[in-house]
Amino acid sequence: MASENPAANNSTTESPACGNATAKDRLTRREAMVRLLGLTAAGAGTAAAAVWLSKHSALPVSTTATDARRDHTVEANATLPEVVVLQGEDPRALVRRAFAELGGVGRFIARNDVVVLKPNIAWDRTPEQAANTNPDLVAEVVKQCVQAGAKRVIVTDVSCNDAERCFHRSGIAAAARGEGAEVILPDASRFREVNLGGEILQNWQVFGPFLEADKVINLPIAKQHDLTGATLGFKNWYGILGGERNRLHQQIHQSLVDLAAFMLPTLTLMDCYRVLLRNGPTGGNLEDVALHKTLVAGTDPVAVDAYVAKTYWNIDPDALPYLHLAERRGLGRADFSQVRSKFLQIT
C-alpha cells in the first residue's frame, strides 16, 4: 500500500511524484478526495439529523392515558346489604364481620388480584389522635385480601406531611407489613399524568400503584373539616393525586365528584372507631377524639358518606352538595333510607 503512494511518505531529499516543489506541503489528490468525501458524509449526516429532529419538534405534550376511568366495582347483588354499620370493641372483628355481611371477601377479591388499599395516611399523627385510618383495621383488611388469594396487597397514600413520618407514626406501615402487605411510599418518580375526565379535573398526576390495581379498597377515616363540615370517603381520593392539589379546595364539591367518578372503589370501609370531631383534619388533641368503635362498610360510596355525615355531624345530604352531584353521576345514592342497610352490634 505504501509503495502505491510515494508522495505521502516522501522524504525531503526525494523529489515528489508530481514534480512540484511545494507538493510536500499539500495533500495528495487521493487524500483530498478522501477528506472531502468524509466531510460530505458528516455534513449530510448532520443535516439529516437536524431535519429529522426538526420534523419531530412539537410542543411537548404529556402522555395521558386515554381510558382513564378506573372502575373496580363488583356486580350488585340484591340479596345483600349495600351498607353495613357495625359496632364493637375489636376493629379487626368489625372488618371480618363486615366482609361476611357483604357477601364474603371472595365476592370482592379474586385470586391473583393486585389489590390497592387506600387508607388515610396524610398526617404525622399517632393512631390515638385519629387523623389517620386505624392501623388494626388496615391490617385486618390486608389479611382478608391475602387469605382471599390476592397476588399483591399494596397499602399506599400520598401523604400531606413528610410521608416517611406519616407512614411510621400512624402505625400503618408496621401493621400492614405484619400481615404481608407491600407498603409503598409516594415516591416522586412513580406519578403519571392521567386525564381524569372530570368536569373540572382533567390532567393530573396520579400515583402509579393506583393505576395498576385490579381492585381498590377505600379505607377513609371520618373527621371534621371546616370547609365541608366533614372529610369522609370521597375526600380520601385526594390522596391518589400528586401535583398542586391545594387548588382543589376552590371547587371542592365538583373536585370530589370528578375524583370519585374517576376512581370507583371495590368497597369502602369507613373507619369510625375513633372519630375526630373538632380541629380536623389534622387534630392532635385527644380531647377532640370521640370513641365510637364503629365501622361503616359498603359498596355504595355515596351512601356511606351520607350516613356518616348525618350520624356524627348531623349534616344532611342537602348541606353536602357533592352527594347530590355524585348521585346524578350515578355513583350511588345520597338518600340513605333508600339503601339496603344493616346495623349490627358485635359483642
Binding site: 398526617w123 404525622d124 399523627r125 399517632t126 390515638e128 389522635q129 400531606c160 406531611n161 413528610d162 410521608a163 416517611e164 413520618r165 407512614f167 411510621h168 407514626r169 402505625g171 406501615a173 411510599l185 415516591d187 416522586a188 418518580s189 373539616h225 371546616d226 370547609l227 398542586e244 391545594n246 387548588r247 379546595h249 376552590q250 371547587q251 371542592i252 373538632r278 380541629n279 383534619p281 389534622t282 387534630g283 392532635g284 388533641n285 385527644l286 380531647e287 377532640d288
Partner: protein, 547 residues
C-alpha cells in the same frame, strides 16, 4: 505501615460518609412512636477538638458529646498530628486528590512544592483569628473547621447533586423501551432508593457556591499536596500546636542520607523530612510515606529523641498579634449592623430549640447537620438573613418546607447545642396525649396578606392553610363573610384569621398556600419563644380548648 495508614484512612472516610448519609430519617421509629437517629451521626464533631475549644471559649461550657474530643486531643499531645494523616476524612480526600497531579507537577516541581514553606504558618493565624473571635462570643470557627466544611459541602451540595444525577440516570433507564434495560433500571432504582438515595430530592440555597468552594479546595491539591491541610486548616493548626511537646518524632540518620529527595516527593505535610535541615514537627501528619520512600532506611519514628527540629507554629509575634487583633475586631465589626437589633430580618426564623440569637451565634458552627437531617428540607443556609456573621446558619424557609410538628431531629443532631436538645414532648406541638398547656416552642407567627388570599381578595373558597394547621385548637380560625364576585353574585365564604396566641410559626400554612411563589399567608419571627424581646402579645392564653 503505609498500608495500615491507608486502611485507617479508608475506614474513617467511609465511616464519615456513611454517617452523613444516615443523617436523615429513614423510617425506624423508637419507643412511643418517636423518631430518633439510630446512628451516632455527630461522631466526627464530637471528636473534633477545635469545635470543642471554640464551643468552650464562646459559650463558657462544653456541650454534651464534645468532651469526647479529648480522645483525639490527648493522644495528639503525646504522639503528634497522626489524626490528620490517619483519621481525618477531609485530610484523606485531600491526600487522594494530591495523588492526581499531572505528570509535570510530580517530579522536580513536586519536590520543591513539598519543601517547608513559610506560608504554611497561615493556618496558625487562621486559628488565632477564629479562637480570638470565639472568645468574643461567636461560633464562626465553623466556617473553616474541616468537619463543618465537609458536612456543609457534602451534605448541602455534593450529596444532593449526586442524588439528582443518580435519579436522573435511573429514571431514564426505567423509562427505557427496551425490556431488560427497563427492568434493570427499576430494580436498581428500587434498591438505591431503599439504601442511599433520598426519598425526596433535597434542594439547598447557595448549594452551588458551597460545592464550588469545596471543589476549589480539592483542586488546589493538583498544585500543592494538601494545600488545605498545610496552609488553612485551623484544626490542623490546633493539633500542630498541641504536638509541641509530643514524645514521638522523626529521627533522621544524617550519615546515611544522600539527599535523593524521595522522601520529599511523597511528603504530605511539607515538614522537611530530608536530612541536614530541621524537621518541622507541627507540620508532620505522620503519614509515614517518607519511611517507605527512603532507600537507605535513614528515617524512623522514635520516642524520646533529641534532635534539631522546629516545634510549634514558629510564628513571629507580629503575626500572632495581627491574628488576635483581627479576631477580636471581627465580632464587633460583624455586629455593628442591624442584624441583632430591633430591625433584624423578619424571615430570620430559627429551628425549634434554637437559642436566642446572640447565644445561637455563639454556639452554632454553621456545619449544616440540621439542614441535612430536616425531613422537609425547610432548614436552609442563611445568606444575609442573620447578618454576615450568620452566614450559613440555619433558617427555616416555609415556602420550601414547614417544620414537621413532631420532629426534633435538628435538635438531636446539633453538635454544639445551638439547637438545644428537645424531645417532641418538650416541643409540645402534638405528641400523643392531649395538651393542657400552650405549646412551649414557637418559631414565629403567621400573617395574612389580604390582597392575595383567595377568600379575602379573590372571592374564592380555599382554607387549605386552616386544614394544615397542626396545633389543636387550630391557630387559624374562620369567619364567614359575604363577598361579591366579578359577576356580581353574592357568595358566603370562610375567611381565615390567625390566633397569635396559638400560632407556633411552623409555616405549614405558608407551605400549603396555593399561591406558592408568594404565599398569601407567611410566617415572620415575631413571637418566637426563644426571644423575649420579640413578642407581640402582653400575655398568652393558656389552658384547654375553648370550643
Amino acid at each position: 505501615m503505609v498500608a495500615l495508614r491507608r486502611a485507617s484512612q479508608v475506614f474513617f472516610l467511609l465511616l464519615f460518609l456513611f454517617l452523613l448519609l444516615r443523617t436523615e430519617f429513614r423510617g425506624t421509629v423508637g419507643a412511643g412512636g418517636d423518631v430518633r437517629m439510630h446512628w451516632p451521626v455527630r461522631l466526627f464533631f464530637e471528636l473534633d477538638p477545635l469545635a470543642a475549644l471554640g464551643n468552650a471559649l464562646a459559650t463558657h461550657a462544653l456541650y454534651r458529646g464534645l468532651l469526647w474530643s479529648l480522645i483525639i486531643l490527648l493522644p495528639v499531645m503525646f504522639l503528634g498530628r497522626f489524626f490528620c494523616g490517619w483519621i481525618c476524612p477531609m485530610g484523606t480526600l485531600h491526600h487522594f486528590f494530591g495523588n492526581l497531579k499531572s505528570e509535570s507537577k510530580r517530579g522536580k516541581q513536586g519536590i520543591e512544592a513539598n519543601r517547608y514553606k513559610p506560608w504554611q504558618r497561615t493556618k496558625y493565624v487562621v486559628l488565632i483569628v477564629v479562637l480570638a473571635a470565639a472568645v468574643c462570643g461567636t461560633g464562626l470557627v465553623g466556617w473553616l473547621d474541616p468537619f463543618s466544611l465537609l458536612v456543609r459541602s457534602m451534605g448541602l451540595s455534593i450529596f444532593p447533586g449526586a442524588n439528582y444525577a443518580a435519579n436522573a440516570a435511573l429514571n431514564a433507564l426505567s423509562h427505557s423501551s427496551i425490556g431488560p434495560v427497563q427492568a434493570a433500571g427499576i430494580g436498581l432504582h428500587t434498591a438505591m432508593t431503599a439504601t442511599v438515595l433520598n426519598f425526596k430530592q433535597p434542594h439547598f440555597r447557595q448549594g452551588i457556591f458551597l460545592g464550588l468552594i469545596f471543589l476549589i479546595l480539592l483542586a488546589a491539591n493538583l498544585r500543592v499536596t494538601r494545600f488545605w491541610c498545610r496552609a488553612l486548616c485551623p484544626l490542623g493548626a490546633l493539633l500542630g500546636v498541641a504536638s509541641r511537646w509530643s514524645i514521638l518524632g522523626l529521627h533522621k540518620d544524617a550519615a546515611s542520607c544522600d539527599k535523593c529527595n524521595r522522601c520529599l516527593l511523597h511528603c504530605q505535610g511539607g515538614d522537611d523530612p530530608i536530612g541536614a535541615v530541621p524537621w518541622h514537627k507541627a507540620e508532620c501528619l505522620m503519614c509515614m510515606n517518607c519511611l517507605d520512600a527512603c532507600p537507605h532506611q535513614s528515617l524512623e519514628f522514635r520516642f524520646f529523641r533529641k534532635e534539631a527540629e522546629v516545634v510549634g507554629p514558629n510564628l513571629p509575634r507580629r503575626k500572632v498579634l495581627t491574628g488576635l487583633v483581627t479576631g477580636i475586631a471581627a465580632v464587633p465589626l460583624l455586629r455593628a449592623n442591624t442584624a441583632l437589633g430591633k430591625s433584624r430580618d423578619e424571615r430570620l426564623i430559627r429551628p425549634p430549640g434554637a437559642l436566642d440569637e446572640t447565644d445561637f451565634l455563639a454556639h452554632c458552627i454553621r456545619c449544616g447537620e440540621c439542614m441535612k437531617v430536616c425531613p422537609n428540607n425547610s432548614l436552609q443556609p442563611a445568606l444575609t438573613e442573620g447578618g454576615l456573621e450568620g452566614l450559613w446558619t440555619p433558617v427555616l424557609t416555609p415556602r420550601i418546607g414547614y417544620c414537621e410538628p413532631s420532629c426534633v431531629l435538628c435538635s438531636e443532631v446539633c453538635p454544639t447545642g445551638a439547637i438545644w436538645k428537645l424531645t417532641p414532648q418538650e416541643k409540645g406541638w402534638v405528641v400523643g396525649v392531649g395538651q393542657d398547656k400552650a405549646p412551649s416552642v414557637r418559631l414565629g407567627t403567621a400573617f395574612y396578606d389580604h390582597g392575595r388570599c383567595l377568600p379575602w381578595a379573590l372571592a374564592t373558597d380555599c382554607i387549605v392553610c386552616q386544614e394544615w394547621c397542626p396545633v389543636s385548637p387550630k391557630a387559624i380560625y374562620l369567619q364567614e363573610a359575604e363577598v361579591v364576585d366579578a359577576d356580581g353574585n353574592k357568595k358566603v365564604l370562610k375567611q381565615p384569621h390567625v390566633d397569635p396566641s396559638r400560632c407556633v410559626g411552623c409555616g405549614a400554612c405558608e407551605y400549603a398556600c396555593p399561591l406558592q411563589e408568594h404565599p398569601a399567608v407567611y410566617v415572620t419571627s415575631i413571637g418566637e419563644s426563644r426571644s423575649p424581646d420579640s413578642q407581640i402579645l402582653l400575655t398568652r392564653k393558656k389552658g384547654k380548648a375553648q370550643s
